[in-house]
Symmetry: C2
Subunit: 449 residues, 2 copies
C-alpha cells in the first residue's frame, strides 16, 4: 500500500522537470500523498524542487513544504516570490503558517503577510508570531470549532458545519460564554445523541483541561501525555479561548526533544542528520571533540605530575585508560538516568536520599569490579599490593564519578539549564581528568612513590 520512491520514478520526475512538461508532471503526481511529495522534494535540487512546487496545487504543496526540514524549505522559499509564498501560506493551518513566516527574513515577512488574501488568516498569523517561542501560544493553531453555551444543539450543528470547513480535524467542540471565555467542551458523540432542541448549557462537560498561552511547551507535552489528550484548548490571561494544540504537534515535539537529548549525550551539538553535508556535520561535532582534546591535555598535565611513578610502578600507567574509561562510563550512566528521570518527573525525594543511593550503588558496582581487577592481578602474577591499590582507587573513582554524574544534571536543572548537556563528552571529559588524578593520588598515598 505504501509509496516507494524508486530511482526510475525519480528519474522520470527529473526528466519531466527538465522538459518543463508541467501537464505530464501533474498527471504523474496526481494521486500522491503530500508526505510522498515531500520525500520527492528532498531528492531534487532546489531549482527542480521549486519548479515542482510551482507546478502543483498549493493545497498539496503547502502540506509537503511543512514536511520538509527547515533548511530544505528555506532553499525553495528563497526562489519563490512573496505572492507565491502567500499562496502556499493561505492553504496552511495558522500554526504551520506562522512557523513558516517566522523563518522568513524580516523584510520578506511583511511583504508575504500583505499578500495573504484572507484577512482573518493573516491577522491570526500575526497574532501567533507575537507569542514567545517555546510557549503554548507559539505552538497552538487558531483553527478550532467553538459554540456558545446559550445555543441549541440544532444551531450548534449548523454553525459547526460552517466552522468545520477550516478545521482539518474536529477532535473537540469547545463551549464558551458570550465573552468567548472557555466554559467547557462537547464531544461529537454527545452531539450525535442529544435532541436538536436541547441547549448546549445542559449537555456540555464543564470539566476541561486547558493551558494558558504562556505555558511552556514541555509542560503542554507533559499534560497532554499524562491525561491522554488529543487536543487541548489554549486560553489567554483573561480566560478567553484563543487557540488549541493537537497531538500531532506534540508527537513532533517529543521526537525532537528525544533526538536532541540523544545527540547531546553523544556529543553532537545541533540538529544534524546522517545525510547533512560535511560542513554541517563538522560544525556539530568538532566543538565537542575540541572539548575532549582539552580534557585529554589536562590529563597529560596531571600524568606528568606523577612521573616519579614511571620507574617504580609503570603498571599504573598501563591502567590509566581503564580508570578513565570506568570514570566515563559510570558518569554517563548516572547522568543519563537522572536526565531521563528529570524529563519524566520521577526524580523525587531529598538530595540526601539520592546521595545515599548513588553511593550505595557505586559501592556495589565498584566492589565487584575491584574484585575482578584483583582476580586478574592474581591471574597474571601482579604484586598483590598493586592490585589492591588499583582496586581501591578504582572504587573511589567510581563513587566520585557517579556523584558527579548524578548531581551535575540536577544542579543544572535547578538553575534552569538543560541537564542533557551534562551527559556526553562533558561528563566523560571531566570524569576522565578527575578520575586519573584521584587514581594516582590514592596510589601515591598507598604505594608511597
Amino acid at each position: 500500500m505504501q509509496f516507494q520512491l524508486t530511482t526510475d520514478y525519480l528519474e522520470k520526475v527529473v526528466q519531466l522537470i527538465a522538459n518543463k512538461d508541467r501537464i505530464a508532471l501533474r498527471q504523474l503526481l496526481k494521486d500522491i500523498h503530500f508526505a510522498d511529495i515531500a520525500e520527492l522534494l528532498e531528492e531534487l535540487n532546489s531549482e527542480e524542487a521549486t519548479y515542482l512546487i510551482k507546478s502543483l496545487e498549493s493545497e498539496i504543496t503547502s502540506e509537503a513544504l511543512m514536511e520538509l526540514d527547515e533548511d530544505d524549505r528555506e532553499k525553495i522559499l528563497n526562489r519563490l516570490s512573496p505572492i507565491e509564498i502567500a499562496k502556499e501560506i493561505e492553504e496552511m493551518d495558522t500554526d504551520d503558517a506562522a512557523d513558516v513566516v517566522s523563518e522568513l527574513d524580516d523584510h520578506i515577512q511583511k511583504k508575504v503577510i500583505e499578500k495573504i488574501e484572507d484577512e482573518e488568516h493573516a491577522s491570526d498569523i500575526v497574532e501567533l508570531l507575537n507569542y514567545e517561542e517555546d510557549t503554548a501560544g507559539a505552538l497552538m493553531a487558531k483553527e478550532l470549532v467553538k459554540v456558545k453555551e446559550t445555543w441549541t444543539v440544532a444551531s450548534c450543528v449548523r454553525e459547526m458545519r460552517r466552522q468545520a470547513e477550516n478545521v482539518t480535524r474536529v477532535h473537540s467542540i469547545y463551549v464558551t460564554d458570550k465573552d468567548d471565555k472557555l466554559k467547557g467542551r462537547l464531544s461529537l458523540k454527545d452531539l450525535l445523541t442529544a435532541s436538536t432542541k436541547t441547549h448546549i448549557s445542559d449537555v456540555y462537560i464543564s470539566k476541561v483541561d486547558y493551558v494558558s498561552v504562556d505555558t511552556k511547551d514541555e509542560e503542554v507535552a507533559k499534560i497532554m501525555q499524562k491525561y491522554d489528550l488529543e487536543a487541548i484548548p489554549v486560553v489567554d490571561q483573561k480566560g478567553v479561548l484563543v487557540g488549541r494544540i493537537t497531538i500531532d504537534d506534540i508527537v513532533d515535539f517529543i521526537k525532537e526533544e528525544a533526538e536532541k537529548d540523544y545527540q547531546l549525550a553523544a556529543g553532537i551539538s545541533q540538529d544534524v542528520e546522517a545525510d547533512d553535508n560535511i560542513y554541517e556535520l563538522t560544525k556539530a561535532r568538532l566543538p565537542w571533540l575540541v572539548l575532549g582534546l582539552f580534557g585529554g591535555l589536562g590529563s597529560v598535565y596531571i600524568l606528568q605530575g606523577f612521573d616519579e611513578a614511571l620507574s617504580s610502578y609503570p603498571i599504573l600507567f598501563f591502567f590509566t585508560p581503564l580508570i578513565a574509561a570506568m570514570a566515563g562510563n559510570v558518569g554517563v550512566q548516572s547522568s543519563a538516568i537522572i536526565v531521563q528521570g528529570l524529563a519524566n518527573d520521577v526524580v523525587k525525594g531529598s538530595m540526601f536520599h539520592r546521595l545515599i543511593k548513588e553511593v550505595g550503588l557505586a559501592l556495589i558496582n565498584g566492589s565487584i569490579l575491584g574484585l575482578l581487577v584483583i582476580l586478574f592481578g592474581a591471574f597474571v602474577g601482579q604484586d598483590f599490593i598493586v592490585s589492591i591499590t588499583i582496586a581501591l582507587s578504582m572504587l573511589s573513582v567510581i563513587i566520585i564519578a557517579s556523584l558527579i554524574g548524578t548531581f551535575v544534571p540536577i544542579i543544572l536543572d535547578r538553575k534552569g539549564i538543560d541537564p542533557a548537556i551534562a551527559t556526553g563528552p562533558f561528563i566523560t571529559t571531566s570524569n576522565d581528568i578527575f578520575g586519573i588524578f584521584l587514581f594516582f593520588y590514592i596510589a601515591k598515598l598507598i604505594l608511597g612513590f
Copy 2:
C-alpha cells in the same frame, strides 16, 4: 488547573486507608482524574494501593492501572482475585485489556478470562493475545466504528450511536463491504454535511491508509507519523477489518523507543528509572561496566607490549588517555548519527559514498585537532617529532574510530540486530583498545623505540 499531589493530601489518603474509611476516601477522590489516581497509587505501598483500587469504581481504576509501570501494576494485581481483575479488565479497551492479561501468569490468565462477563470482550481479548509481539495485531484495539457501504447516512448514524458507546474516541468511521472487507473511510464532517438518504457508497473516501496484522510496530509508527494519521485501520490476510491503532499508542511507542536508544547509548541495558531500587539499577548497569573493565584490561595488555617506550618516550603514556578519549568520542558521535539516521530512514546511498564522507569528515576534524596538539607541544616545549607523531597517530585513530562507529551499526542493522546496542560502552570500549594499539604502533614506526 493541574492536580498537585501534596504531602498533606497523600497523608490524608494514607490515613483514610489505615482507618478503612471507604466512604470518606471515595468522597475525597471523587473528582480526580485517573492519571492523578495513578500518581497517587505510585506513592502508596502495594497493600494500600490495592485497598484504594478495591474502593473506587472500576471505570476509574482500570484507567489508572493502565497508567502504572508494569511492575507496580503486577504488585497490585497479585493481591486481587481473578474476579476482581476481570472487573477491571471489563472496563478497559481491548488493547489495554490484552496487555494486562498477557502480563498475568498463565494459570491466572485462564481464570480471569473465564470471569469476564461480556463474552465478546473476552473473545476479542483472546484474539489479540494470539498476535505476535511487536506487530500491529498486538498493538491494535478491537474498538472501532464501522458501517457497510450499502447503508444510508440515516441508518449509519443510528448504528454509529450504538457502536460509539464502546469507543472512547471515534476518529474515523470505517466503511466495509458485506464480507467486512475494508473499503474506505468516512469523516464525521462528511457525515454531518450529507443528506440522510444518501448511500454511504456515494460519499465515502476509498483512499485509506491501513496496515496488516503482521506489520511491525515500528513500521506502523513510521506510517502514522509520515502521513500524520491519528488512527489507522488494521486488516487481516484476507483484507477483513479487524481493529485499529490510535495515535496515543504510537506516542507511547515513540517515547519508549527513544528512551531505550538513549539508555543503550549510555550503557544501561534495561528499562530502569531513577527511582528504581539499587538491585534493579545494578542489574542494568553492571554488565556494561564489566564489559568496560575487560576492555580496559585489554588495553593494559596492549600497553605492556609497548613497555620498551617507557624509558625513551614516557610522554606517549601521558597521552594515552587523550587518545582513548578521542577514539571513544568520535566513535560515539559517528554511531549516534547513524543509529538515528537508520531509525528515520535517512541513511541512503551506497556504502562507498558513506565511506568517503566519513573519511573526509574524520580527516577535517582530525587535522584540526592534530594541529591543536602540535601547537600545544610547541607551547610546552615538546620535541617536534613527538608532537608530529602524536598528531599523526591521533588522526589515524580518529579515522578508524569513525569508520568503526559508522559501519558497526550499519552491519548490525542489516543483520536485523538493533543498531543502538553499538553506540554506548560497546563502541567506546572497542575503540579504546583499538585506538591505543594503533597509537603505539604508529608511534613505534615513526620514533623507532
